[in-house]
């Protein structure tokens, strides 16, 4: 490191090292960062809390007693309980196969794992509508057998799985690549089988990375809860707005509703508070 000293103003301090920045540059850059972060990160976060509690804590708690909200939270939890373990197992399997072996199509597999991070969640919803929707491939068959996927719980689970599956794998692949396979190979020569290698060698090595990936995955899967809070807040605020803003809000609400209904994406089930 380039001899970084603290930002404290000290008249007696030794002359600045040639590889350190001048004090005014430090202050300027630090101030720029603070302002940028304040405008883009602190302020939105502050507003979210301010909106959620704008009518006081009792209303905030009351919102949680609303049967629709309770149902919505139950649904969100259910979706997370299904999606997160599925994606964890997939993440482990994918990271194992991609980092332990070299095979044709390996890079293609990595690219596919990345894809949901890139593709708009709208497209994520669209593809499932095309497969399972009324006009989709399995639509008629599903209707005959009275199975609902789109606009029902399985659809929400599918969309959540799609949006969140890269997180575990993405976290593990660089980690397992960097750690190498020397210890696993040693275990193999000592006669361990695959499961023993996994549980005794690999899992302890990657546990923190795995935990981080699972938490990220879960945060995305449960996002709906926080979304619900945001909606409650924005709804109560619209009363104070003038007509123009109210129209805008209504427009926003109707779009939200359309999104939720049509795509049964992650936000489904949480749209009740604004209806």
């Amino acid at each position: 490191m380039a001899g970084v000293s603290t930002l404290s103003l000290n008249a007696n301090r030794p002359p600045r090292r040639a590889t350190a920045d001048a004090l005014w540059i430090k202050i300027l850059l630090t101030a720029t960062t603070f302002v940028f972060f304040a405008l883009f990160l602190f302020l939105p976060l502050f507003v979210v809390f301010q909106m959620a509690f704008s009518k006081g804590v009792p209303l905030f708690i009351h919102a949680f007693q609303d049967p629709y909200t309770i149902k919505a939270i139950q649904l969100t939890l259910l979706v997370a309980v299904i999606a997160v373990p599925l994606n964890t197992i997939f993440g482990l399997a994918a990271a194992w196969s991609v980092t332990r072996y070299r095979f044709t199509g390996r890079l293609f597999l990595i690219t596919l794992i990345d894809l949901p991070l890139w593709v708009s969640p709208v497209i994520g919803g669209l593809i499932y509508v095309l497969v399972f929707g009324a006009q989709g491939w399995f639509g008629p068959w599903l209707r005959e057998h009275d199975i609902r996927i789109i606009f029902a719980v399985p659809g929400i689970v599918l969309a959540t799985v799609f949006v969140t599956f890269p997180f575990v794998a993405r976290g593990l692949i660089p980690l397992m690549q960097a750690q190498g396979i020397k210890e696993e190979e040693a275990a193999l020569t000592l006669g361990a089988n695959g499961w023993q290698i996994f549980f005794r060698i690999t899992l302890p090595k990657i546990k923190w990375g795995l935990l981080y990936g699972v938490i990220l995955c879960n945060a995305r899967a449960m996002g709906g809860i926080w979304r619900g809070l945001g909606c409650i807040g924005s709804h109560s605020r619209t009363n104070e707005h003038d007509a123009a803003t109210r129209r805008d809000s209504l427009q926003r609400v109707s779009i939200r509703r359309r999104v939720c209904r049509r795509l049964s994406s992650r936000c489904s089930g949480n749209n009740h508070p604004i209806h």
């Binding site: 930002l7 590889t19 602190f42 072996y101 709208v122 989709g136 695959g194």
Partner: protein, 269 residues
């Protein structure tokens, strides 16, 4: 060879096929089923072309702004010590963790004409929410972590001896930065900017709230996909989805190439 190749690869491929490959092939087949004529008409309709500009153009500006401020932030976070640094560092990941819709609502609440900053700007006739500038703000918000988190490790790894050598040879701080530090950061900056761009193009949740969604002015392409679905125009929706998928895929490709370049540079440095 470590056991488990068949099991893990087989499972990964089956899972990916069910979740990604089969649905995506449905998208491509649906696009094809509409015929070339219909596809071309759908993707070049004036309203759709206007939405490309909003989606791809504004994402580009947002990525550039993130490139500048993200590098400054990464530099400050790595090189300087000041109170609140760790909090600032942790805050960078916030746009990842916060559901995008919440971010959208929060930004709207800040910049809408009767709220917070919107209120302050109203007397000067400046509108932010429900304009293209508002979309730009939302896209900047969600793209920031990508630049900071890609550039940060590279700055941490920078060998101080090259800076010292530059100083010994009489370079001033600015020359050192511009001629020595910046070139070695460039691949990482480009990668981060590409990542931020890719994320911004696909962004939906935060944008619909702040955009106001006026046709030709503040309507993004993903929203048009939804309105096509709403009208049961499945092949039209699939056509637009296909275009967006192609763009996303090419951005992903560019970023992978840049990342390979990045790793190579890091290997040498």
């Amino acid at each position: 060879m470590i056991p488990g190749f068949g099991l893990t690869l087989g499972y990964s491929i089956i899972y990916l096929s069910l979740i990604v490959l089969i649905p995506f092939s449905a998208l491509i087949l649906k696009t094809a089923s509409g015929g070339w004529e219909h596809f071309w008409q759908t993707v070049t309709a004036p309203r759709v072309v206007a939405s490309y500009w909003v989606s791809f153009g504004l994402s580009f500006y947002a990525a550039i702004v993130n490139g500048v401020f993200g590098v400054i932030a990464a530099w400050v976070l790595v090189r300087y010590r000041f109170p609140g640094r760790r909090i600032l560092d942790a805050m960078v990941d916030l746009p990842f963790a916060l559901p995008t819709a919440v971010a959208g609502i929060a930004l709207t609440a800040i910049y809408a004409p009767n709220d917070w900053i919107g209120e302050l700007l109203k007397p000067y006739g400046i509108k932010i929410a429900f304009t293209q500038f508002g979309i730009f703000l939302a896209l900047t918000f969600i793209g920031l972590p990508f630049v900071v988190r890609t550039v940060q490790p590279i700055i941490e790894d920078l060998a101080s001896d090259v800076e010292e050598a530059a100083a010994c040879l009489g370079a001033n701080r600015w020359q050192t930065f511009w001629r020595v530090i910046f070139p070695s950061l460039l691949p990482a900056i480009l990668t981060g900017v590409t990542l931020a761009y890719g994320r911004a193009v696909g962004e939906f949740g935060s944008v619909v709230f702040i955009a106001g969604n006026l046709p030709f002015r503040t309507e993004i392409t993903p929203l048009l996909i939804i309105s096509k679905l709403e009208q049961y125009d499945y092949s039209g929706a699939a056509a637009l989805g296909f275009v967006m998928l192609c763009v996303s895929f090419s951005i992903l490709l560019v970023s992978n190439v840049l990342q390979a370049w990045n790793n190579k540079r890091r290997g040498i440095a």
